[in-house]
Symmetry: C2
Amino acid sequence: MGPGPSMVHPRVYEAISCPLVGHLDPLFLELMTQMQQRLRQVFCTENQLTIAISGTGSAGMEAAFVNLVEPGDEVLVCVNGVFGNRMSDIVGRVGGTLHRIDRPWGEVFDPREIEEALERSPETRIVAIVHAETSTGVCQPLVEIGRICRERDCLLIVDAVTSLAGIELRVDDWLIDACYSGTQKCLSCPPGLAPLTLGPRAIERLSRRRTKVASWYLDLTMIQKYWAERQRTYHHTAPISMNYALHEALGLVLEEGLEPRYARHRLHSRALMAGLEALGFEPAAQEGHRLPVLNAVWVPDGIDEAQMRRRLLDDYNIEIGGGLGELAGKVWRVGLMGESASRDNVHTLLTSLGELLTSNNESTQATAALDAARAIYVS
Amino acid sequence: MGPGPSMVHPRVYEAISCPLVGHLDPLFLELMTQMQQRLRQVFCTENQLTIAISGTGSAGMEAAFVNLVEPGDEVLVCVNGVFGNRMSDIVGRVGGTLHRIDRPWGEVFDPREIEEALERSPETRIVAIVHAETSTGVCQPLVEIGRICRERDCLLIVDAVTSLAGIELRVDDWLIDACYSGTQKCLSCPPGLAPLTLGPRAIERLSRRRTKVASWYLDLTMIQKYWAERQRTYHHTAPISMNYALHEALGLVLEEGLEPRYARHRLHSRALMAGLEALGFEPAAQEGHRLPVLNAVWVPDGIDEAQMRRRLLDDYNIEIGGGLGELAGKVWRVGLMGESASRDNVHTLLTSLGELLTSNNESTQATAALDAARAIYVS
């Protein structure tokens, strides 16, 4: 129940330990094709170039920037947490000129702020923003931002590491040009691959590059030939077992269906938050924009948060996340992602936390928390 | 029996499907420490910074260059196959000034050639060379090259993707400053991680960089803090399951012992090559420098090599590799790496190939091949 890796279904563990075949074996190439079809469904896109990058979510982030930003390109990055910061850092490394707008951590951007920033810097070619900020638990609305970018001939890059398959994300409808994710969040697959999709405008930008992509390993002009459905050209040896796992995890997502899956995440988050509030924890993210998949709460005064997380882990076998960056020591981040989003997990955490918060002579505080969660489940 | 991925031991399949823990879980941090100790033994090094990069072997290559080469640095790359070419390509992408020396594919470099190249370009700061060229099956002697580099204050980067744990490789004794590998060759682990070790001279070069490392994902100035044994600082989410697998695969290597493991590879290669020669296949790599782990042979005239490889795969369930680059269509590459290096595999390939090469009315050619292999095993 941390900010990922989330729990993994037994079928995915079974898939990851299937016997290897070669990375050019016809069986594996067929699995790649199927996986691409499944990824397109989950991203809600028809983009041909929808693939799994051979690295974790951060490799997906780097792949998006290193391929789409050329030295000197102006890039607007919207920062309201750790992962917006990371995008800014990468823009500098790949030689882009960074424009950056900031919101306090835990708040979302108003599309007008982005519009104004683009008016101030009309040469901006790319806008980058995080959909689900894993460091703060905030969910950024994206719908209008895509339109604003189209009007100004900007590409829109969206970080969907924590949102994909957990909350609504519509790459084509929302006019997103490049979108990446990780496997270990709401896809409930072990970490190690980064789903990535590039739309036609991004592909065009890529094909018109004046310079070589700075990274050989992440160079999509070559990688796309390995993922092309007709003639697959060797680039690097794909992580076969991880691809087996992702293929199966995507199958589970689609068997459940995207809408029921989103609804499941919402339900268990409401129950969890009701219980946590009964225990004295206040939500940390802006009201109306709280992520169901990553529930951030302020740690009340007087609690040794690191020690209590350690006791949860050692005595109750439950992992939750501490704060990152400027929120370190101040918030907890409770993941309800994919397989982890269950009534069982909500009850277990509330019960355990209720016990830990109860001093010796009181009756456990868990009762009130469980009652609050139950009220959500029966409603 | 292709050029990797090689076969995987059941214990490694079991390890890769173990339940996930978090990437900062005390259990996982302990596994990282153990894995580093095991990697040091296999690399024959005491280098503190001995880790697994979260990507395949090519990510290891890129990590070595992007961290150690700064824009404008002069780099000498020795090219006698596909992977030397790839190193040259990467040097350009990271802004290095490339000096390159070439040998015909399948031949090795004489240390004097490197010495002469360094005399022509005395500002060279790095020499890069492939130990075991997967595209040609040639094994490059390294011993003198390290000394030549030290005398000229050059760093030596060695590609050990196909050699590590299959043939002798002594990072410290041979004065190698940076060395990387992949998991899916002689370590017999699924692909997805790149073992990497950096010696003190490389660390010093890294700490004195004037510019940020161009890749955030592969930036060792940050990654080394996650792998530091005292205080592990989050950088990116490690591929947990792959690390479980590598930890177990390294355990198997050390249980067998490095010397017996090298000897096993040599034995089965001798038997295989004797059998293949009996079938009319001539070795493609320079005599005296043939890799036991990757046996490259010329395909005799009159054989439709692609069709025959396809029949081996479809009818006999055996994968072998075709040629890469300028050797495409001309050679076969037969891997005997890690778990794949067995008498059983040698017999199976020779029997199957003997059948395929026999026309209807003859008795099978396999007999001669098996006799030749047997002569090696009984000697």
